[in-house]
Symmetry: C3
Subunit: 135 residues, 3 copies
């Protein structure tokens, strides 16, 4: 019993970019070698996040569109006097910095339509997420 | 020490349906038999979620109303050409796929007003959540 | 291996108040004495939450402003007939009741710009959060 952390390197290609990292997370679980426990995927960035959803391409476009409506890019944000990416930070609050998934039989026990998505909100950039297997 | 996963079966009755599953989660903790640790409630669905809030009936109506305003049902969603439930998916992003609660003295150590809520967003359906006790 | 829970007492000073609790969370990790594992920060309140973001003062003002726009204070909320704080509850849904952070080398392994923020949404009040170290 214990925790093993691994890091997955990612490259985003666009300002907003939704990357399906399910296979990489599964691979990290296999390397960890545990069977029953909890998988934690942690995003160490403040203008990106992770979430669990279906990766249907139309839905990913809808998610991008919705994020840009619920956090409009053109408000008079105070943070933009420093870094011009306040909307990226606020959208990251919506996506969240981590997800947890059951580990069962050595694999992340996602539901039928669930995928682990990395949510780039201020790309393109080199990024990384940490995968912890607790068992 | 280790992790035990159990599944709670649920039946939602409406398109949007907020179910208080606190007692079922507490029951799963009792069965697991551990005293100190972490309880994870995981929703394996992409048009439903779980969250922790007060279960006051007026507040639950407010939560339903707010979800329908912040993710309107009638946008021109791309996903709707496939499944006509894009708004349900986007609302599920807001609720989130999991919650964690401290396990103390063999029970979920919720605050005074906190309840664990299953958030159905595309019902009515047969659903399930997984409860993991890590201790 | 096991879990140790500690409680951090907090005092908010305003109706909406974003408190950087990173140092207190780090201190709880040091007291727990474990090296590799998971840190859980749990908010037992329904009109407050915790999240991970940059603590730049302009961004915190932007976050406050965005919360008041996405959950307006002046809707005809049903819960307000009981307690007049429905908007605080709905904003707490957005912030979430918990965060998890990797524990590495005995410390919370936050990203460069990440801080753990307590999000008071119905203050000023005496509050508390529970910090669990799982290792």
């Amino acid at each position: 019993m214990g925790t093993r952390w691994q890091t997955i390197a990612l490259t985003s290609k666009k300002k907003t970019d939704l990357l399906d990292i399910t296979e990489a997370v599964s691979g990290a679980c296999q390397k960890a070698g545990a069977t029953e426990g909890l998988v934690v995927v942690y995003c160490p960035h403040t203008t990106a996040g992770v979430l669990i959803q279906e990766a249907e391409p139309g839905l990913l476009r809808d998610l991008e569109g919705w994020l840009s409506r619920v956090v409009p890019p053109d408000e008079a944000y105070h943070h933009n006097r420093i870094d011009d990416n306040a909307a990226s930070h606020l959208r990251a609050v919506l996506s969240g910095a981590s997800v947890v998934v059951p580990l069962r039989g050595g694999r992340p026990a996602l539901g039928t339509w669930q995928r682990v998505l990395f949510v780039e909100l201020d790309g393109p950039r080199e990024r990384g997420v940490h995968v912890g297997v607790i068992a």
